[in-house]
């Protein structure tokens, strides 16, 4: 018998592709439960203060209304802790906003009531009838005006080794005395995730102490834990289902006010309650990439060796939660600078809490760092790729230990060749095509190759299908497909004989989908459980056929309806018998990282090369080429991984050229309220993005050799485009997005 074709690495189609394109895939807002009710949130129209009164009478009288819930009548979940601490002095890392707990207004559009009715239209109509009076207080929503009040995050105060703490190697701010130096400030505005699927939840109290949530979340188990704790329930009494997630980008990494509101509403009306946010509400209460100010000082020798970097950052957070991200992480380890200083600060504003958005802080930081690299290369009159190569790190300069693997130079070469880097001129504005200036730029990205621990379960079904289960979600990268490929190779089964089920907190424990860690973490668990299953099946087979008792695992293979043994044509064990013997029990294993992480620095790397065209009269920017190259270890599925890289690159185009959520500080309200005001790229904004994978296994992250893709797909794209705009025009835009008004 021929060995089955290897599935790992193959560009296999998505296992759920057909369900998605035919509409059979059910998203959180698509579950229809008997006797379901619909909830609509009412948001505060002021930004800070107290609710002095709230009149719900008209809403309650409106047709079909079942309940109007406010802080005055909401049942208090027994495990809920009050929101945050003293908002004027964030002393702690705070806690999430808890709805309907008090009369305090912490940000504009904060939910102050939820209206529940027997149809969505009636709930929406009645929501308009809720009238609130406020005792307004002066609010702060402007980062620039609040930079002076920025503070060191509590976690850094408590732990000087925290990644958010000030970092130092060599001399402090040594760039100031450098012979050749630059100092520049960079700003990114608030950006909002805006996945196509809106945040939605259907909450169903199946019994007074049993709660089922059909919820848009990136972590079924994290959501289960949060709401079990809130309601004082054992975790096993809460079930969270998120089979399909229509994009998230970090937006569903947190438990948000609308989820609590739906659960409260379902409790009050004693019916399943569905609540879907509006696009407008997606701006205000479910996180965003925080508006961030950064400053970089850099010095170098005339021959292009960096002597010092200082990188400072102030990001916005809310008054009730300290949101911290690794904005300065890449600066500490990417280039060989003997002197390096970082300072990370937060400014608390009267806004909803931010949350990680794809690439998260690293993408913000890379905009500043990789722009500054380009600025310094220009000052030195050195090609920016050559400048990066002169400062390349062969081991981690932050932790002074080797990389587990690093093939970034290979990425540079591949990308430069594909974009036509040799056409790039050192002098900006040198290349034109008619009315269009042409420029080339590059930007580097990196993200930790994280691996956590996870479980997976496996079970043989009578028809010879192997059922695998994991609580992990698939928010779009193709997790289900990658796991199916890993299982197929491990078991020696065709993918059609693997059924991988995910997105249910009752399944085997898995971490939240995020931080580019899922294949790294769940992949090994799937591989190990498949090996364990095969071993278990061999053991079961041995009870009726001695030949299996001494057989090696690799000699056991799956035929149509029975197991066979290599070199023994009479040995067979039927699936029906094996299933009966197993008694319907699944095999579950837990897979944990080894201790290698202590010895090595583990990172994925990427570099993005952009060719842009800038119109000489209108200042419009078009990205005409975008090449994304990744050192992400072994690629499990070239097609879904390539797709993920392209999606991340499109996100980077949005970040570079158009995404910008704007608050009118007089009111503390967003003036960008929908996708007509808040632009994300359309197809015409994106060229045919070319992806290159080094596809070399990492020996240490896990046995599969993977390192992770999700974040590095976006990190470095925005500076590549900004640098290309500079090369095209000689105009350095240090505040994103690069809209025509900044170039004309």
């Amino acid at each position: 018998m021929n060995a089955p074709e290897k599935k790992i690495g193959a560009p296999m189609n998505r296992v759920d592709g057909r369900q998605k394109v035919t509409g059979a895939a059910k998203y959180s807002a698509e579950y229809e439960l008997p006797n379901m009710a619909y909830a609509v949130l009412v948001g505060s129209t002021v930004t800070k203060g107290r609710l002095s009164s709230i009149d719900t009478k008209d809403a309650e009288r409106a047709p079909g209304v079942l309940a109007v819930i406010t802080h005055l009548n909401a049942p208090k979940a027994p495990g809920v802790k009050p929101t945050g601490k003293d908002p004027s002095q964030p002393q702690t890392v705070g806690s999430a906003l808890q709805v309907f707990m008090d009369d305090k207004i912490r940000f504009n559009d904060q939910p102050i009531a939820v209206v529940v009715a027997n149809t969505l239209e009636r709930a929406r109509f009645a929501a308009r009838l809720v009238r609130a009076q406020y005792a307004k207080e002066k609010h702060q929503t402007n980062l620039e005006a609040n930079k002076a009040n920025a503070f060191l995050p509590t976690q850094a105060k408590k732990n000087p080794k925290s990644p958010a703490a000030d970092y130092q190697r060599g001399e402090v701010d040594a760039y100031k005395t450098g012979a050749l130096k630059l100092e520049a400030e960079y700003v990114i505005p608030t950006e909002v995730h805006h996945p196509m699927e809106l945040q939605a939840i259907t909450a169903h109290w199946e019994a007074p102490d049993r709660l089922t949530l059909y919820d848009k979340t990136q972590g079924t188990m994290a959501t289960r834990r949060d709401f079990a704790r809130q309601w004082g329930l054992p975790e096993e009494n809460v079930k969270v289902i998120a089979t399909y997630v229509g994009g998230a980008f970090g937006n569903a990494l947190h438990s948000w006010p609308h989820e609590s509101a739906a659960i409260i509403a379902a409790k009050v009306v004693n019916r399943p309650v569905k609540l879907m946010l509006t696009r407008e509400q997606m701006f205000t209460m479910v996180g965003y990439r925080p508006h961030t100010w950064q400053k970089i000082g850099m010095s170098a020798t005339a021959d292009g060796k960096i002597t010092a970097i200082t990188h400072e950052s102030i990001g916005q957070t809310s008054t009730y939660e300290e949101f911290v991200e690794a904005t300065l992480g890449q600066t500490k380890m990417m280039y060989q600078s003997p002197n390096l200083t970082t300072r990370y600060r937060l400014a608390a504003l009267d806004v909803g809490s931010p949350i990680w958005m794809r690439g998260p802080g690293e993408a913000t930081g890379a905009f500043a760092l990789e722009s500054a690299m380009d600025e310094m290369a220009f000052l030195l009159n050195i090609d920016p790729m050559e400048f990066r190569l002169r400062n390349y790190t062969d081991q981690d300069p932050e932790k002074n230990r080797p990389w587990s693997s690093k093939f970034l130079k290979e990425c540079y070469q591949a990308g430069a060749q594909r974009v036509g880097w040799n056409k790039r001129q050192l002098k900006p504005g040198s290349l034109r095509d008619g009315e269009w200036f042409i420029g080339y730029g590059m930007g580097v990205g990196t993200f930790g190759a994280h691996r956590g621990s996870s479980k997976a379960s496996a079970q043989l079904l009578p028809d010879g299908t192997v059922l695998l289960q994991s609580a992990v979600t698939d928010i779009g990268p193709g997790t289900g497909t990658a796991m199916t490929q890993i299982a197929a190779d491990t078991l020696g089964l065709p993918p059609e004989k693997i059924r991988f089920e995910w997105g249910n907190s009752d399944f085997a424990q898995a971490p939240t989908q995020g931080g580019s860690a899922i294949v790294n973490t769940v992949g090994p668990a799937v591989q190990e459980v498949c090996m364990a299953l095969k071993d278990k099946l061999r053991e079961l087979a041995a009870t009726s056929n001695g030949a299996f008792a001494t057989a090696k695992k690799e000699d056991v293979s799956f035929a149509d309806n029975h197991l066979t043994l290599a070199g023994n044509s009479t040995a067979r064990a039927t699936y029906a018998d094996l299933v009966r013997q197993a008694g319907g029990k699944a095999v579950t294993v837990e897979s944990k990282p080894s201790g290698e992480g202590q010895k090595f620095s583990m990172y994925s790397f990427s570099v993005h090369f952009a060719e842009v065209r800038v119109h000489e009269l209108t200042g419009e920017v078009r990205v005409s080429k975008l090449i994304s190259c990744a050192d992400a270890g072994t690629i499990i599925n070239e097609k879904t991984a390539g797709n993920q890289m392209k999606g991340g690159a499109v996100g980077g185009i949005g970040m570079a050229l158009m995404e910008h959520a704007i608050i009118d500080d007089r009111f503390g309200r967003y003036v960008t309220k929908d996708l007509a005001d808040y632009h994300v790229p359309v197809h015409a904004d994106s060229p045919a993005i070319e992806v290159f994978f080094v596809n070399q296994p990492d020996p240490y992250v896990n046995q599969l050799g993977t390192k992770g893709i999700g974040e590095i797909a976006t990190i470095g794209v925005a500076p590549a485009i900004a640098n290309a705009v500079f090369n095209a025009t000689g105009k350095r835009v240090r505040e994103l997005p690069i809209t025509p008004d900044k170039l004309v």
Binding site: T45, E121, R124, F125, R128, E435, H615, L617, T618, G619, E620, R622, L657, M658, I662, D664, R666, F667, R669, V671, T672, K673, A676, D677, H679, P681, V682, H683, A684, D685, P737, T739, P740, D741, K742, V744
Partner: protein
């Protein structure tokens, strides 16, 4: 959304009567703007009079003009052979607007009547004289990067968002309306209003008046035309500003006639007649275009965040004229 009645008359007079007699009634055709406004509570009609059953969809040539029915879809008009041959500027402007899905729903009459996209108009908690007279203009000292540089008042600095209307004003179109007092024609340039003290009124339509058609007279602008729309992404975005340019150039390269209008700069599509006059008799060169652009921008005044329009405006005019001349 508020509760409302819905009627679908089959005779124009019934539709006109339904709206003329009820101050809270509104016509609805494609609904691509009105439904959004209703969802947000910006408009709260008590009755919707659906006019889609009326027979105003034809595009036909009569009296040396193209008569385009008010209910003709934007996509139909943009693809119509006669429009593309006789009024290519109109087709270009239509295709620059919205998305294919929206153009498949939106009608010509509705396109003219779309409301401003000013964020303060759309948010019922913010001040806006257009939505609620007397509350003030939120944009005047607010986030006004999309706002007017011509013809504004201290009551309103919003701009009209239509692309199609910019071409129609350049092409000297006429709006045919039917109302309680009978039929009348309104020159396109007089159809929309400047805000003055009554920004709540976008147009000079009388209550109950229904647009039945728009007439676009024959013209020599069948070749050298261009619609330059500057926006923040390549497609599906409202204009930062736009320019409709049409030239008639003789064999010697001299401009015999010119039409020029801008969008995204005023409360109405902004015809640039003085700049047109500068062009007539001049050679079709960048220098002439720059002169016209300078004249076009006279009187422009910017606010805190839209100062770039003073630089972008003349550039876009030059670019539009250059492209038109080269077409």
């Amino acid at each position: 959304m508020n509760q409302f009645q819905y009627v679908r008359p089959t005779k124009p007079q019934a539709a006109i009567d339904a709206v003329a007699k009820d101050a809270n009634a509104r016509f609805i055709a494609g609904g691509t703007n009105l439904v959004d406004l209703m969802k947000r509570g910006v408009m709260t009609p008590q009755k919707l009079v659906d006019i889609n059953r009326l027979d105003f969809r034809k595009i036909e040539r009569q009296n040396n003009a193209l008569r385009i029915g008010a209910l003709a879809l934007n996509s139909t008009v943009a693809d119509d052979k006669q429009v593309r041959e006789r009024q290519p500027l109109l087709a270009l402007a239509l295709n620059a607007g919205a998305s294919p899905q929206l153009r498949n729903m939106a009608t010509v009459g509705g396109n003219m009547l779309q409301r401003t996209r000013c964020a303060y108009f759309y948010d019922v908690t913010m001040p806006c004289n257009k939505r609620q007279p007397g509350t003030g203009c939120g944009a005047l000292e607010g986030v006004n990067r999309m706002h007017a540089i011509f013809g504004f008042s201290d009551k309103c600095i919003a701009v009209h968002p239509s692309d199609m209307s910019v071409a129609l004003v350049a092409l000297d179109a006429t709006v045919q309306v039917s109302g309680p007092k009978g039929n009348r024609s309104i020159p396109f340039a007089d159809f929309h209003r400047l805000p003055g003290d009554t920004p709540e009124k976008d147009t000079n339509l009388e209550p109950g008046e229904l647009i039945t058609a728009v007439d676009v007279p024959d013209n020599p602008f069948t070749k050298h035309v261009h619609y330059q729309k500057v926006r923040e992404r390549a497609s599906y975005a409202f204009a930062l500003l736009s320019v409709a340019a049409a030239l008639d150039i003789d064999n010697g390269g001299t401009i015999k006639a010119a039409r020029l209008a801008m969008g995204g700069v005023a409360h109405k599509p902004w015809r640039l007649t003085a700049a047109e006059q500068v062009l007539v008799g001049k050679p079709a060169t960048e220098e002439s275009f720059r002169q016209a652009a300078t004249v076009a921008m006279q009187g422009a005044k910017a606010f805190k965040y839209n100062e770039y329009k003073l630089r972008l405006g003349p550039n876009a005019i030059v670019q539009a004229l250059k492209t038109a001349a080269a077409a």
